[in-house]
Symmetry: D3
Subunit: 301 residues, 6 copies
Amino acid sequence: MKLNDWLNSEIPTISQSLEEIHREHFSIDKTIGFEGQESIYSLIKDFRSALFPCLCDKYSNVETRINISIGNKLRTSAINLKELIEKVLINDSSIHEDEAKEKADLIVIDLIKKLPEIRRVIQTDIRAAYNGDPATTSLEEILLSYPSIQSITIHRIAHELYKAGVPIIPRIMSEYAHRLTGIDIHPGASIGEYFFIDHGTGVVIGETCTIGRNVKIYQGVTLGAKSFPLDEHGNPIKGIKRHPNIEDNVVIYSGATILGGDTTIGQNSVIGGNIWLTQSVPANSRVYQTQPSPNIKNGQL
Amino acid sequence: MKLNDWLNSEIPTISQSLEEIHREHFSIDKTIGFEGQESIYSLIKDFRSALFPCLCDKYSNVETRINISIGNKLRTSAINLKELIEKVLINDSSIHEDEAKEKADLIVIDLIKKLPEIRRVIQTDIRAAYNGDPATTSLEEILLSYPSIQSITIHRIAHELYKAGVPIIPRIMSEYAHRLTGIDIHPGASIGEYFFIDHGTGVVIGETCTIGRNVKIYQGVTLGAKSFPLDEHGNPIKGIKRHPNIEDNVVIYSGATILGGDTTIGQNSVIGGNIWLTQSVPANSRVYQTQPSPNIKNGQL
Amino acid sequence: MKLNDWLNSEIPTISQSLEEIHREHFSIDKTIGFEGQESIYSLIKDFRSALFPCLCDKYSNVETRINISIGNKLRTSAINLKELIEKVLINDSSIHEDEAKEKADLIVIDLIKKLPEIRRVIQTDIRAAYNGDPATTSLEEILLSYPSIQSITIHRIAHELYKAGVPIIPRIMSEYAHRLTGIDIHPGASIGEYFFIDHGTGVVIGETCTIGRNVKIYQGVTLGAKSFPLDEHGNPIKGIKRHPNIEDNVVIYSGATILGGDTTIGQNSVIGGNIWLTQSVPANSRVYQTQPSPNIKNGQL
Amino acid sequence: MKLNDWLNSEIPTISQSLEEIHREHFSIDKTIGFEGQESIYSLIKDFRSALFPCLCDKYSNVETRINISIGNKLRTSAINLKELIEKVLINDSSIHEDEAKEKADLIVIDLIKKLPEIRRVIQTDIRAAYNGDPATTSLEEILLSYPSIQSITIHRIAHELYKAGVPIIPRIMSEYAHRLTGIDIHPGASIGEYFFIDHGTGVVIGETCTIGRNVKIYQGVTLGAKSFPLDEHGNPIKGIKRHPNIEDNVVIYSGATILGGDTTIGQNSVIGGNIWLTQSVPANSRVYQTQPSPNIKNGQL
Amino acid sequence: MKLNDWLNSEIPTISQSLEEIHREHFSIDKTIGFEGQESIYSLIKDFRSALFPCLCDKYSNVETRINISIGNKLRTSAINLKELIEKVLINDSSIHEDEAKEKADLIVIDLIKKLPEIRRVIQTDIRAAYNGDPATTSLEEILLSYPSIQSITIHRIAHELYKAGVPIIPRIMSEYAHRLTGIDIHPGASIGEYFFIDHGTGVVIGETCTIGRNVKIYQGVTLGAKSFPLDEHGNPIKGIKRHPNIEDNVVIYSGATILGGDTTIGQNSVIGGNIWLTQSVPANSRVYQTQPSPNIKNGQL
Amino acid sequence: MKLNDWLNSEIPTISQSLEEIHREHFSIDKTIGFEGQESIYSLIKDFRSALFPCLCDKYSNVETRINISIGNKLRTSAINLKELIEKVLINDSSIHEDEAKEKADLIVIDLIKKLPEIRRVIQTDIRAAYNGDPATTSLEEILLSYPSIQSITIHRIAHELYKAGVPIIPRIMSEYAHRLTGIDIHPGASIGEYFFIDHGTGVVIGETCTIGRNVKIYQGVTLGAKSFPLDEHGNPIKGIKRHPNIEDNVVIYSGATILGGDTTIGQNSVIGGNIWLTQSVPANSRVYQTQPSPNIKNGQL
């Protein structure tokens, strides 16, 4: 009974105090909150179902259903997304509410319009996985079991919203992809067609990266920033180009670290495993390390 | 009203076009789809509950329930798995439908039969974790909080299906484990008893690896392929032994990379952290790097 | 019909045998089981909602609801947590049942009491993320999309339970955080205010680490143990200080490995990427490696 | 353990035998089954939401949503209904499968087309309830708490399908209404505008009834059949007009029973409580019973 | 494809038209809607759990939980109810919004305060069922399987809200009880302690009924209105006393109909089955009908 | 804020007081509670699915599934039912716990054994409905839309448990049927094969009724008790034969009331609508009332 009595007498004060601390830093009614976060995860699933429809369910003999089902998912997603965008636009910037609504409409229309093109590009990514991994046996296997496809699908949607100036939502999307795959691509990164990440865990691709066509990356690769300048208050200066450029047809093996906004990997280059690069390399380079030969001590340990 | 009107007028065309792009590359009715993917995740959970039964729920005073509960989960899983296997067999290969059904039956029966043996082996993995980590305090803690056990449990099931020639499904299983743990073990890898991966994030174990008994691996270890040969069309040649062999009683510390199908780590060897190895080492080796002593600059930065 | 007949005749025996193997090693009725695991995941979500309340749902115009909602979540969480703690205390140790119940009450009361202070500290962590990442644009974005905040929130709760001597539960919490973020912090680690982990995948922070105030860590950093001593039965000796100390105002870049219980990184130091450190460095150090310049081979590959 | 053993050994036989008995009388794969039953209940709810849309949920500030929401519900309902109709048409009659599909399409299109008209008529029913019950205070109260509206809404939809020759489904709909309200209206009954049933429990309205405009009925009224003729095998002859006609502006008080296919209640008539009628009455009749005065025995019982 | 094309082209117009018809008669954003209806059903369940708590669930060994559980349900119900009341007050009457909020607070506080007294009275109803039905064997059986208790519990709550002037909500509650039990008690009816309805289907108790202590009613009984006066527009005049008074210790057998606002059944009376009464009877009456002896025709039919 | 403050300060006391009132009359931990009630509703659904299996779901091409599915439902139902029976036996009677468990086992085994026979009998009920209602067109329509079948199916199961002496549970089952159909059959009633109730709302069949083969009943029929004797404390004497016997081949039309334990309706008789009978009638009787001819007043009302 002790715990019960204590809860009855103390919970009101503790609740009050938790609410107050939170309110000091956050406006609790001008946020999309964890509920918005969950909505965005749902949106992603709906977009995925619309992009990769299947007749695998019980109504598989009904052609009509596929088309209706895609349409319904798009409609619902569009409305939900519009509302979330409206909300973050109003909260985040100095935009007028009416303008925010109008802008939200346009952003959503624009995204939905681009979906067929996004789908076309993802097909090149699927093809890249198929051609890039000897372990795979079918396109379907790639669609259903490759983290690369999950990650790049979410990225290509989030990137459109990022370009349209939507705050917060693209990052929630990219963090969702990060959670599912261990691949952390900032929605600001610009990535060309026919892109493949093998295994993927630990990959980090920074906000101002540009990546060309037909690039292949392995697990643990970082495309990051060098140290960044602070402003007079000691805060990092935002909006500077901080991450590298990867040109077409580049392969980057596992564990490589490439840093800096001025660093460009020229086309057709190959970057070896565990390479640490903070400077550009020209096209057609092959960058490798004579790995220091390890000491091997034979005999009874 | 603008968005609504636009959606009403444009969604049919966009849905149509998404469907068409997808159909060009995938047969939308000969797939297990995302729904099949979810079924496989459920299967995994059912197998887990059957392998590690507990009386922790509200009916904890009823002995009968445990046995019935295990049995029901096995029955349901068996039927669901059989149907999924049937479907992927028919879609994937040139097998006749009747033959596919018969084969699916046999594969499932074989897997269920092996479960007690699989469970026995996993118990050695649990024991390996207990003995291998000074931070743990009980077997139960390991079962409920070690990613290694989650990963190896799924692997040992997926590996059986892989050996039986089931397409796609084993990979969906292994990617599910990857998502949950950050440990990416291809279902083709052959792994001995008493296996333990500590922390685990970023571990990659390739399709044609063989790993002996009593092997311990830390986070970030890659057991991967060197570059792989292409066929005349520039596609990777599939089915070649590409990944290393790890013999009994080997320890591999965090971040080590071991590559190549001819690379064998002899029994009782220890591979140090961050080691890069593309050649075999004999039994009883201790492989380490004199880590380059870092430059330490004291003083006011 | 074949599979059905086989299941009908063989499942009872296989169920029986799975149950027996499990019972040999686990007491199936003295465990919190996978159900307890799920309860703990729910607890974490409830605590999160109480710590970061929002009026974002449909009743957003009702002030009362926030306070009631926080209170209800705390009450329910408190009761559920108390029961789980009771159970693991009784199972795990030689404590008497009545004592276990009393202890569980006190532990829960203590945790709930500390929540406002925990919340205050997490606010410093949110601020650290804001100041430490030029890519972010608002505190809300951090709360909703940074794995660092998710990880440290769970850690700060799990750590309290760890200090109170609760078995298993803190580890289930930390492994939940690991699964969501790829960041593996043992609940035993002691971490100061204003803590930030960027990206985070692959970070490992060991049980006996101590980390000061204003420390920043990047992805893939390990704060681990060197090899550990075995007792006369070959089992690791538990309870020894095995992991490093990180003093105030230290930055550790991606992929760095710092090992050993005697290793101390002095305050205001910076540890560079991929550094391997098994010895202490004094305050104000800057530890870096002249990264071996890679071989760059230009020209047609 | 006894129950468990018994179940393990006997369930296969009992299952087998249950399956066999069922198969003797039903074709287990040519049915919509209990699952179809549930789908129909859902359809009803979707139609209801489309007919009576509200902005009461959390997105209440978004005009667009209402329209989209109505549309999505109609689309989904249409597809689901079409499939169910297809199935019952194929199973039930000698129709060719292709023809069944085509017919199902037409029936659904026809129903959806009629919805606005159905909605208009239901509004007259709502108005009839408002004018007919002194206890009500608003149209909204009627919509949300009058069984009459629930019953007549379902009936007006089911009746359209009945007229189109759809088997089984209209009856499942009407039985759903019966379950919810205690009002049992056969989908074959033809009912005019501005219809109101007060309280309603126990009302029965038979298949071949015709009911005019502005009719009001109280609880426990039966509009039923007299005895019905049997064919030479002793089975009831189906398809005969068996139930009464109720003309415009008639009121029928509680517990009245009106039987027979030739029985017509002329317009503007009032039928008193508990009246038993098996013959027609002309227009403008007032039919009542001098209720036999009850024996009242005063005094100490 | 036909249905799909048709839906794509026609649904927008039909949705539009359904929305418009609805808007003509209802304000779609000033309603609690079907969602509010569902919330009220949930409220009822929560109140029921708070009034009849049980330790029957899995945590049955934790005393604390009962108390917390009751409290949480009351808190949540209170808040939800307050919001619904606020909404219907604002919509329904000419009350100012602030006043509505204040009034809603007071109404809810008042209801919660009365719950212990309501519970006490329901216990007398349970006792009345136990004493009134020879078929029952325990109080628990009555609580879990008697429609009378379900109906009167909901009524006693709805009646408080009715008295407090809350529109719509009490009627939604009473209609919920009607749906579950077939017993239709208007929330306006005033009912004394120790009340029992046996079987219950078809019972109707009108808005202005008053029922004394220790009254027992059987299935199919109507306590209704005679015809009611219309105003100059032909609408029923609302707010008149229209239904009978039943004094203490009265029994009314099945199918009896008692009508009229001036009709009083004196205390200790017994009304026989199928009696039709539109006038008062004094105390201690026994009202019965010499049931007309039926014609019994023996012999071969 | 007012409501919140009030709730915080008063809820603990009110909760306490609700708990205390309840505990005075009920033992809160020796009950199956509302949760048990819900379990029983689920059991009924599972039994229904086992008795009327269908291949209507998505796996309709898999013969094996039907058999497995029936078996799984029976197994789960058996275990759940056994636990509920155990609980009510222990609570309700003076039986020893071990004996209760053993008895529960036997009761469940007995019920499951009888299911094929129960199913066979229900098929005669389905046939009776088909032959007895000219409005029906197929057996499937009857199975999916006739309340009679739902009611009698539940009754035939509940009756077995009643005969086995299980307290409370059979009544919860019968009240569930009552809720769904408006037909209230006490589980004690004994009912022969080939039984049909048309429409059904308001039918009451008492505990000690016996009903022969091929009986047909219409809505609103009561087979009830006359007044019942009280013991010296004024409580009804339980366990006496109080309800009528209906012999084979009897038809009872709507609204008839037949009362008393000595009342027997001889075989092949027909009882007309609204008949009130408290005495036996011989075989082959036709009981009817010259319905008093109603007064019909023509002309302008």
